[in-house]
Subunit: 169 residues, 2 copies
DNA sequence: CGTTAAATGCGAATGGGTCGCAAAAGCTCC
DNA sequence: GGAGCTTTTGCGACCCATTCGCATTTAACG
């Protein structure tokens, strides 16, 4: 009977109250799978899709099933613990997820290099406020995404553009 | 050999130059199918998904195939003649399409009654400008969507809320 | 018109996501 | 710390939107 605690577990202790609070509100049970999935999402840096999340989870406990991942994502969305992103369908039709613990931001997807930029400005906050005021609509989730060219790729495109026009002469 | 022209066809004459211009740029051919699909999209009021578009198209020429619809939508997206919407996945994973001829707006999807509101405010324009200025990102397509409760549904929810609290006492 | 590259129809194949059900695991209350 | 009830999981079959490869047709250019 190992009583040793890994750092992730002791850290879990701190998280548990927050999660327990959030998850148990509404009658959701705090299962091992859910704890694991939430922890992976929280600790992950980038934007996870369901398949990646499953892969990472299987590394800890190979018995976890795809359906559980999808069901948990659905639950976390409902509880507003994560946001779902499309990232302009840059990599097919799948969705990406990120914890709502980080400060709010939107996403810019570069069609050329595939990079995802995160950004925010007070004007976004203002826009949301205006929307509610002007339409009476109560915003529960909002998603702002743009596709185009990032600064670097634009510079590159411009220089090859001038190459092309030079060659055309 | 019927020489009569339906109004939709004569209207087509006006559109054709615009379409021909847009479609033939980049080497796209002006096929009967493409003309038909673009016309359906332009004349449609609501937000069409691929299946609805196919259904409407089949009504005019039953030989048109699903794959052609998808390929045409892809083309029109590339040419920036239409925008693709998710509408917060209110009706599953499918996408919706609308012509870019109408003035720009974003979409608010009511989770309760399923209504889609269209809205705009100058702050949105300003936000886009700021994004470009602050990040150097060149926006080619942008999508702003919110999900929540429309004014009517909110009023309804509030009144049933107070019913509930009254009942609870 | 004939030529040629591009587009279409077709049906099979993908891929992301969902479902129904039996077994397993949380919670609650004692 | 179990009994009993309810929720959740694993599982595989299934679904639905979209894509693909290929043979045939068609638009566009000369
Ligand atoms: Mn989507
Ligand atoms: Mn992000
Ligand atoms: Zn880039
Ligand atoms: Zn509503």
């Amino acid at each position: 009977m190992r009583m040793g605690r890994k750092s992730s577990e002791s850290m879990n202790g701190a998280n548990r109250s927050y999660l327990a609070q959030k998850l148990t509100k509404g009658g959701a049970r705090l299962t091992a799978q859910r704890k694991m999935l939430v922890e992976i999402i929280q600790n992950s840096t980038g934007h996870l899709d369901a398949a990646s999340l499953l892969r990472l989870a299987k590394r800890r406990d190979s018995r976890i099933h795809r359906a559980t991942v999808y069901r948990t994502l659905e639950l976390l969305k409902r509880l507003r613990l994560i946001d779902e992103l499309d990232l302009m369908h840059l990599e097919g039709e799948k969705h990406f997820y990120e914890p709502r613990t980080r400060s709010e931001h939107f996403h810019l997807a570069c069609f050329r290099c595939g990079k995802i930029l995160e950004h925010n400005t007070p004007t976004f906050e203002r826009l949301k406020k205006e929307i509610s005021e002007q339409t009476g609509f109560k915003i529960e989730v909002i998603r702002l995404e743009a596709g185009g060219q990032c600064e670097e790729c634009r510079a590159q495109a411009d220089s090859s553009q001038s190459d092309a026009s030079r060659a055309a002469r």
